[in-house]
């Protein structure tokens, strides 16, 4: 079994507390094989509170469900990756007397609370979007008739929930 914990003087890194991954010798392993280093520039690194992989998601997902985790008391930073990692532009079109151009700067939108993430949509055509952000994705019909974007359903979603407060008034020492 490899040495996994060192409190002392490591040949690469100096004095500190180090923890290596399973089967990696904490005394000699590469930095990439350390789970923890008290000399890390991001202190202990950012802790993952929750995460998951969803083949599709069409409504709110409670990321506290597994293990009945406590609510962190703030909206955490969530990193997501899905099939719809794109921007989209429906170029200048004439519709009768109207000249229309629709742009979405980010299709991969979500709304967040302290316990959930929800696929969302900011419709690019303001006249169709008096509500602002919609907690739903397009699943077939675009904003202005057919062929204006098509389906934008959330699929192949991976995400991690980090213990980093991500809301105004919470980015202070009380929560970090």
């Amino acid at each position: 079994m490899a040495n996994r914990v060192l409190i002392g003087n490591r040949s690469s890194g100096g004095y500190g507390l180090y923890v290596s991954k399973a089967n990696s010798n904490v005394l000699t392993c590469d930095n990439k094989d350390l789970l923890f280093s008290s000399n890390g520039k991001a202190s202990a690194g950012h802790l993952v509170y929750a995460g998951g992989s969803q083949s599709s998601l069409s409504s709110s997902l409670n990321f506290l469900t597994t293990g009945s985790k406590d609510n962190l008391g703030y909206i955490p930073l969530v990193i997501t990756s899905e099939a719809e990692n794109r921007v989209w532009n429906w170029g200048s079109k004439s519709q009768g007397a109207a000249q229309i151009q629709l742009t979405q700067n980010n299709v991969s939108m979500f709304t967040y609370t302290s316990s959930t993430l929800t696929p969302a949509l900011i419709r690019p055509f303001p006249a169709n979007n008096v509500d602002g952000v919609l907690e739903v994705r397009r699943t077939g019909v675009g904003d202005y008739g057919n062929n204006t974007g098509g389906t934008q359903a959330c699929t192949n979603l991976d995400f991690v929930v980090l213990k980093i407060p991500c809301a105004y008034g919470y980015m202070n020492s009380t929560y970090f």
Binding site: L47, G51, G52, T66, A83, V160
Partner: protein, 148 residues
Amino acid sequence: MANRVLLGNRATGGYGMYVSEAGQNVLTCNKSKLLFYTDSGETGSSFVAKGTHQAVPFSGGTGSTAPVTKNTVNLSSASSASLSYQNLGSSNFLYTAKNSQSNASSSDFERGANFSSVGATGATINRLGNGDTYDVVVFKKLSTNALY
């Protein structure tokens, strides 16, 4: 100076290894103030974290060589490309973004990319729409479960 490292029996949490934030007494502080805690499968109000968020290097991270954690992929002409990164385990996910187009074209376009065939040492990046370059980062997943 506060006690910051404990190897032993903590009043709340039992035997394990604990590291507290600067200024926090590791013996008595709230668990929310712990930087590190040997996860014993705790749930509910005792839960601290699943582990540390980590980027998987494309290269480096050995000896004195700094890890390279960002890869810029040119998909101006090709519709896909292969990515290779170091083997830190099989459970990864990849991240890229192409946001905030400052000058939207008057013609149709899409820009973006997603990923397939994600494995321990490589994946495929697939262009969505028009050609562009993409910055890619690989993150570790701490579990393959649908929710963890």
